[in-house]
């Protein structure tokens, strides 16, 4: 059952196309992540999904029923959703009055309002903040208040637009963890936009990646992570060593270099070799790995906790990720000749 479906959404502003026929389906109860680089149209799409804007053409369906472009019925559907914006705006007044507002306009009794506000404050970890002036909150507290303000309405669909941008790394992790936990504890469906693939992986179960107003790929997060459809998707998901290749059965030609893989593909395409799967040794070793080459070390640079060793294999550059211990053991330096190997099954083909 789909809680939200967007069908062929088009939007043009100032003669440039912002959304060029976007369709997507959000399953009831899922945590759907809308990904893509900044400026690809995520926010615009979320505003349409949240019934705040109307597209030029296309249809929004909520629980299978088409949502009218205006009128009471549209307001009725909008009241089953809540959107938290990228830069939440606080109303003047206390944290309590901010969170209570949505309930107040729905005619909720004072008793119930107080009860529910207390509950959501606990849920977002802001117990005792009721009487704080909302304009004195820190960035993280403002986000959490905005989250509580949306959650208190108990929406069927919660829309979150980049909820963690411009937060410090540790606060970001904490807020994301909380959001994920709330999703798991309630039966709400979450639709979240982020430009950060790592954040998306941390919380999402399904998702879609956008580029220039189009959906590049959608499906389960595993599918997006492990089976990128094209070169853009591969680099978006953080794949490295992406090479253009000519495919012929289980062999791929990258210029003159033949690389073996386990997919059936022919014609032009791309392959990617994850840096972690590349093994370097100074002497030829007996391995079962079907891709074996000789290369020259071009450079060695630190990359977080591991080292990136850039290899030149007959003019083709590949980067291998090596731990500090393994690097010491190898004793290589730029200019060294090394043996390079990796499994055919580790090669991504698209």
């Amino acid at each position: 059952m789909m809680i939200l479906s967007l069908k062929n959404i088009h939007l043009t502003r100032e003669r440039s196309s912002i959304l060029a026929g976007v369709s997507l389906d959000v399953e009831l109860g899922s945590f759907f992540v809308l990904m893509g680089p900044t400026g690809c149209g995520k926010t615009t799409l979320l505003r349409i999904a949240g019934l705040l804007d109307v597209p030029d053409s296309g249809e929004v369906l909520f629980r299978g029923a088409s949502v009218p472009r205006k009128g009471r019925e549209r307001l009725g559907v909008r009241r089953k959703m809540a959107t938290m914006f990228q830069d939440p705006v606080m109303f003047k007044g206390t944290v309590f009055s901010n969170i209570a507002w949505g309930l107040r306009i729905r005619g909720c009794s004072q008793r119930e309002t107080a009860l529910r506000v207390g509950e959501v404050l606990e849920l977002v970890g802001l117990e005792g903040f009721e009487e704080r002036d909302a304009s004195t909150l820190s960035g993280g507290e403002t986000r959490r208040t905005a989250l509580a303000r949306a959650l208190v309405l108990d929406p069927e669909l919660l829309i979150l637009d980049e909820p963690t941008t411009s937060l410090h790394q540790s606060f970001k992790r904490e807020l994301l963890g909380r959001i994920k936990e709330i999703h798991d504890r309630t039966d709400m469906t979450f639709l979240m936009a982020t430009h950060d693939f790592t954040d998306a992986l941390a919380v999402g179960d399904t998702g879609a990646v956008m580029r220039d107003g189009n959906i590049e790929q959608s499906g389960s997060m595993d599918k997006i992570l492990f089976s990128p459809r094209n070169r853009f998707m591969a680099s978006f998901t953080g794949m490295r060593n992406i090479l253009p290749a000519e495919f012929c059965a289980s062999e791929a030609l990258v210029r003159d270099l033949s690389i073996r893989h386990t997919e059936e593909k022919s014609g032009h395409g791309f392959l990617a070799v994850p840096p972690e799967v590349i093994v370097i040794s100074t002497a030829p070793t007996v391995t079962s790995e079907r891709n074996r080459f000789i290369g020259i070390v071009r450079s060695i640079t630190r990359n977080g906790t591991t080292w990136d060793v850039e290899l030149d294999i007959s003019g083709i550059l590949l980067t291998a990720a090596v731990t500090t211990g393994a690097l010491d053991e190898l004793g290589v330096s730029p200019g060294s000749q090394v043996h390079v190997s990796f499994k055919a099954s580790a090669v991504h083909v698209f």
Binding site: L52, R78, M84, W101, A150
Partner: protein, 230 residues
């Protein structure tokens, strides 16, 4: 010079002894400007909302025009109202000329652009995010407008004070359509304008000092409002 000091002395005494003529003029002036501001706020705060929230073609042009009208000359408004309410004018049969209502009508017209324009600015200063937030929390269109208006209330009140300040201190309309009739349409400004010419220096100074204090009070109130709005 000594004549002037003497007049000043009498003026101060008039103010502190509660001179009935001086105070009746001051009270009338306040009443006329208050009624004008009240009517103008009832008409032009909603109009400002309508223009801000209405998505129509040429909105920016309308706003630019309203802003230009902030400093419309009072005699120009006075002339228009005169033509409107004089016996041969379209509202001539109502017999408004040389009554306080004519002044009120003129002052409403005078401060209409200030109240409309500053209301629009007040709403604008809340930012699009506020209206979006209200909408995202399930507010109807009417609710959104009320919420934005309530968040901008101090700035809107400032616009009313500015309008009141202008109405109190204008002279062109009150003279042209009020006629400075003693005990009926004589206001602070018209009394001063004509009193000085007639040699009623002390009374004019007294009235001038009252007018100045009123203007200062309005300005202080505007400052207080702007602090709260900020």
């Amino acid at each position: 010079m000594s004549q002037l000091t003497e007049a000043f002395g009498i003026a101060i005494r008039m103010i502190f002894s509660g001179d009935p003529v001086v105070y009746s003029i001051a009270l009338r002036t306040l009443l006329i400007a208050s009624v004008a501001t009240l009517f103008a706020s009832m008409l032009f705060v909603p109009l400002g909302c309508l223009i801000y929230f209405g998505r129509f073609r040429g909105r920016r042009l309308v706003v630019a025009f309203i802003q230009t009208m902030y400093s419309v000359p009072t005699v120009f408004v006075g002339m228009l109202v005169f033509l409107l309410v004089s016996r041969s004018g379209p509202m001539g049969s109502m017999g408004l000329l040389f009554t306080p209502w004519a002044i009120i009508l003129g002052e409403i017209a005078l401060i209409a652009p200030i109240i409309t324009g500053l209301t629009i600015s007040a709403l604008q200063s809340t930012g699009q995010g506020l209206a979006d937030t209200a909408a995202a929390l399930g507010a109807s269109r009417g609710r959104i407008i009320l919420k934005v208006l309530s968040e901008a209330r101090y700035a809107v009140l400032t616009s009313l004070l500015m309008g009141f300040g202008r109405a109190v201190s204008e002279v062109g309309i009150a003279i042209m359509v009020g006629g400075n009739i003693s005990g009926y349409t004589r206001t602070l400004t018209t009394a001063i304008a004509l009193g000085v010419g007639k040699g009623e220096t002390a009374a004019s100074i007294a009235l001038g000092l009252i007018l100045l204090s009123l203007a200062m009070l309005v300005s202080i109130a505007v400052n207080l409002m702007q602090n709260r709005a900020g």
